[in-house]
């Protein structure tokens, strides 16, 4: 098998006495959709923070494409192809949806130290941005200020922004949280289409979505990975059942 795209080696993070990431070792293969599930407070978001560079781990290593990126700040990781979305929506509320995405396109296309020319009119930025909005089904709302979008639309916008950075690996922190049924169906369909194009690490509480999308599932409980396997085998893993999921939820 090819070398993993993302590899965590003995990553550890503690807040005082609370160990939130406990010796996590994990590898994500190129092209797979790797879901991370776990109960509330298991440390999933904290793990994403450490992979994306939002927070430094206390110890251990993060390797991306074989290179150690443990000490690299977030913007540099993004430029290497590692993008993330946030569990708590993080967008630019005063910018239109299109401009939110166009900024991500701008970040990877040429220098942003250009002091002349109207950026909002640049077709080379707006074109790809519109395609990303299209992909998540948000293009009809392109010119609406992002702050005025519905909660579900904001979640879709986060996804579009992440895509616009043209990542090799996309880290999604509960993209379905708080979306309505139709919106969440659409996001699942979008992810299904994206699966063939890029590697995805998906954190999600919606088990239907996880088991229909994931190639592999890792289960995180109290900061520890207790299992990494195919969805079917995770579903039947007694340890997982005991530690985490209500029996009926998995059947």
């Amino acid at each position: 098998m090819a070398e993993p795209l993302l590899e965590l080696r003995h990553v550890r993070k503690a807040y005082g006495a609370l160990v939130v990431t406990d010796d996590v070792s994990l590898s994500v293969e190129p092209g797979e959709l790797h879901a991370i599930i776990g109960p509330n407070g298991a440390g999933k978001t904290t793990l994403i923070h450490q992979i994306s560079g939002t927070l430094p781990p206390d110890s251990g290593q993060v390797l991306f494409g074989g290179e150690d990126i443990t000490r690299l700040p977030m913007p540099r990781r993004v430029r290497r192809g590692l993008a993330r979305s946030f569990q708590i929506t993080s967008i630019l509320p005063g910018f239109s949806a299109l401009e939110n995405v166009a900024l991500a396109v701008q970040a990877r296309s040429g220098s942003s130290f250009r002091f002349l020319g109207n950026a909002a009119q640049e077709k080379a930025l707006n074109g790809p941005a519109m395609e990303c909005l299209d992909l998540v089904g948000l293009s009809p709302r392109a010119y609406v200020p992002a702050g005025l979008l519905s909660h579900g639309e904001k979640r879709q916008l986060e996804l579009a922004i992440g895509l616009a950075t043209e990542p090799k690996l996309l880290l999604l922190d509960e993209p379905l949280a708080g979306t309505g049924h139709d919106e969440s169906q659409r996001v699942v369909e979008t992810l299904r289409r994206l699966k063939s194009r890029l590697t995805i690490v998906l954190i999600e509480h919606d088990m239907d979505a996880v088991f229909s999308l994931a190639d592999r599932v890792s289960v995180l409980v109290y900061g520890r990975v207790i299992a990494t396997d195919t969805p079917e085998r995770v579903r039947t893993n007694p340890e997982v059942r005991a530690a985490y999921l209500g029996e009926e939820e998995l059947v």
Partner: protein, 343 residues
Amino acid sequence: MTELAETPSAPAPSLTTRLELIPIVLFAAFAAAPLLATSSGAEGYVLSLLTRVMIFGIAAMALDLILGYGALVSFGHAAFLGLGGYAVGILASHGIEDALIQIPVALAGSAVFALATGAISLRTKGVYFIMITLAFGQMLYFLATSLAPYGGDDGMTLSSRSLVAGSGILENDFAFYWVCLFCLLGTYAFSRALVASRFGRVLRGTRENTTRMEAVGFQPFRFQLVAYVISGMMAGLAGCLLANQAEFVSPAFMTWQRSGELIFMVVLGGLGSLHGAIIGAAAFLLLEEFLPEILHAAGFFLSEETRSHLAENWKMVFGPLLILVVLFVRGGIMGLLRRPHHG
């Protein structure tokens, strides 16, 4: 993707065009003012007052660039007025009186100071940024007071205004007025282009959500630093003009009160519109100038004695008035001009 170009990018283009009217009217008023000044009889007074307004307009606009568009509350921006002023004063005292040398030196000095202090200040956030910019401003202020060869506390009087390529044209108040208007217009046009550019869009993005900007791959610090340097240079230019207007430089150019006044002008005019800062500077300086008379006139129903008391102690009214504007007129004067169109 082709239909993209045809789709209107703003829901109400009429609103934007209507707002463009404000800067047009503003600059037309500045252009027409000298003609009115001639007919007013107090030509010198009107010209010098309006020249000051334009100079502070440049400085306030410089501050708006980082405060309004980058949410960076610099409490030491008067330092750049001082830098510009002292560059003119010190060079002139050594016989270098040409603006073509003085201004580039002032700009370079401001840029270096901004780069050094910005690189440190921008590592802090919020109230710490305010305090550290204040501290750097004070540092420069105390340096100026200790410059004994250049007047120390008392400052120094310029023997004449700067030359321009050897000619003393700026001695003419009208010519100097037009030069200041030209500088105001130039810095305004440049700033407008800047905030709409790729660079400006990143700066505006960092104002709204720094984490999001990092998460798409920008390093906010660099953009903030460059904006800080540009803003400092513009304020430095205003300092050069101010020294020429007053024909005098002193540490008073860069007191922290002056920095506070600059912030006030920007907030009064309305953050983040550039021409709002110019309007704010105008409102501030004109109010400061005419409030005593206004109070005297407004108190017509009071006894003559109370009226003159009121006029003498106009600052007691000025302060609360400013507070009321900030509290009740959200978005400053620009917010006021915008509001009626919205409903």
